[in-house]
Symmetry: C2
Subunit: 357 residues, 2 copies
DNA sequence: ATGAAAGCGCTAACAT
DNA sequence: ATGTTAGCGCTTTCAT
């Protein structure tokens, strides 16, 4: 039986091949020079013994663990699991592995995770951060010159850390404008953001919106689109909901029952879309006859129901992959191109959008 | 500005505290004995310098990296992302981190991933393996005495590796029997398994079914339930579909159009459930009036549609968590309790099940 | 082309 | 209680 390869070291290989440790190392690394004879002997010995290089030892001396960390709110959330997939794909093809941590949006958990992962000497972090005023753990990373890329959300206090996210504003503009072009004038929006308290109302168009939360940015895009077409923003059509489908369901039920005059409804998030849809189904109002409906994220079920739901699709996989790619560039000290990346959303018109009647 | 904590070593702390390296190590590890004075000095020095222990170095000497690997087909798949969440939760609370790899059910990718992760000296593996005759990479792990737990699927060749999975047979029996108890006698099933070619037909009841694929086990449960109640298994009601929702959609459409006499339909997988549901919606047949319907996995959309779909819920999070717990026990050399674990499914009756009319 | 030796940061005997 | 020393498995000068 072959020896336990876990414990076969380069020393064993060297001995078996009848050469010195450094010769074996050279051959195995394919660096430096060695005679064909030595190469053959080493390779055969390694194979015979089932030698497996110890990446830990390698990392210790090289200073790189070839591992990156993904610190996300919840890998079971479809958005993040898709992003994680993109992330691992990109990492893998660069020869990196990925270590995951869930934060559940708890600042303390986030801090602790970052701490632990730093001790494991990951080469960099992709973090979808918890919103907080003083993200000390992340700041420390930056201070320690450990590469970091933010995913999906920026922290105001972390202005100089590159961000990879959806173009939230543009996405929302796209959806809203598509509705306007269909002829809609009274478009309702379901949002997690609170219009006035988050400065959306007074937000000057055109300047950097990175400091706002995604939800506020999406609301902003809606406002922009309306403004661009000379349409008023009516507060009664901005329906607020907490970040749960039950809350959205309740809010949309109320909107429908209120008898408000609107001909289209746009949901700014996957969870809100689910709740809104449930309210619509329960109310028994036919769409798009009663009003048009655009959901967020191309979730599987949106094509299962009838009519299939028109959605704004977010390139989740690409977001993760891009974040990883950017991080890897940083790790390789390619200092150029440290700006933010905003990927566009894709509008998928299906059966729930139509001209108003 | 504080020094880059990445490069602060225990030597620096020792020097700063005016003690020897080993004293510092003792204090930091909280092992051995040290005077209160030394303790204070070391802790303060560590804090002042922003010392971060190097887990890599620790792992090298201790032989444990405090990291486990999750080798899964696809983390973006809801089943596996939920399982991964359970896995990381359990690992985290034991002080372990998790490294993920996707295989896309490609044997070569799986092999390569296992190879790479082994080089990183993970302490163990949770693997949802790709089906293949000779899972050499996994066998090698076992041979090298690296702890492994299989998730969801067993490989025939890996009979002695512990498995954590759903009780596929029992789950299917549960759903089928619930239908029978409702009065249904002609129950159709949508399955990925092929009845005869996978030995389900001839499978003796009661013996270990672990070697069968999940899909075959679920089909077996259906057969068992029918048999138990003296109902015949009718081949025309066993509708086969590939593992895509389109295939299931097509198959169920055909079933409906065929005019076959059946009063209930049970889907044995999440993907098949989606396709079947789409076919039902398209055919415009009202359920449960036309026939009862039980789907697989408590997917979000199943509660969104109307009526909400009755489903067989799989404890995905618990599956992952249990796998991790078992693995950790193995890592700690708790050799007892190496048997398989089969978690029960939970039947959630909602609006699509009713007595036949 | 090859080998000897130092050292990455840490732990763990073993002295003192 | 504290310090010295010897590794863990590897890469990397530096000689030869």
């Amino acid at each position: 039986m072959a020896p336990r390869s876990q414990s076969v070291t380069i020393n064993d290989v060297a001995r078996e091949a009848g050469v010195s440790k450094s010769s074996a190392a050279r051959v195995l690394a394919g660096r430096g020079s060695s005679s064909p004879k030595t190469q053959k002997a080493v390779h055969e010995a390694a194979k015979r013994l089932g030698y497996r290089p110890n990446a830990l030892a390698k990392a210790m001396v090289s200073g790189s663990s070839k591992t990156i960390a993904a610190v996300l709110p919840d890998v079971a959330n479809p958005f993040f699991s898709a992003a994680l997939r993109g992330l691992t794909d990109a990492a893998r093809s660069a020869g990196f592995e990925v270590l995951v941590a869930n934060t559940d949006n708890d600042p303390d958990v986030e801090t602790r995770s970052i701490e632990l992962l730093t001790e494991k000497r990951v080469d960099g972090f992709v973090i979808a951060p918890v919103f907080q005023d003083e993200p000390d753990a992340i700041s420390r990373l930056v201070n320690d010159e450990i590469p970091v890329v933010l995913l999906d959300r920026r922290m105001p206090a972390l202005a100089d850390v590159p961000l990879v996210s959806l173009d939230h504003v543009g996405a929302s503009e796209l959806a809203t404008e598509s509705l306007i072009e269909l002829g809609h004038k009274r478009i309702a929006i379901v949002t997690e953001a609170v219009y006035d308290s988050q400065g959306v109302s007074g937000f000057p168009p055109g300047i950097d919106t990175g400091a706002l939360r995604p939800s506020a940015q999406r609301l902003l895009g809606y406002r922009n689109a309306l403004g661009k077409h000379g349409l008023p923003l009516e507060h009664d059509l901005v329906v607020h909901a907490e970040y749960t489908w039950r809350s959205a369901q309740k809010a949309v039920r109320r909107l429908i029952e209120s008898g408000q005059d609107f001909s289209a409804l746009f949901c700014t998030d996957a969870v809100l879309t689910a709740g809104a849809y449930k309210a619509i189904v329960e109310a028994g109002v036919p769409i798009p006859e009663t009003f048009s409906f655009i959901g967020f994220d191309d979730q599987e079920w949106t094509t299962l129901v009838s009519p299939a739901i028109s959605v704004l699709d977010q390139p989740r996989h690409a977001l993760g992959a891009t974040a990883a790619t950017r991080l890897l560039a940083q790790i390789r000290h390619i200092t150029a191109n440290q700006q933010d990346v905003r990927l566009p959303a894709n509008l998928i018109p299906r059966g729930t959008t139509a001209p108003p009647r």
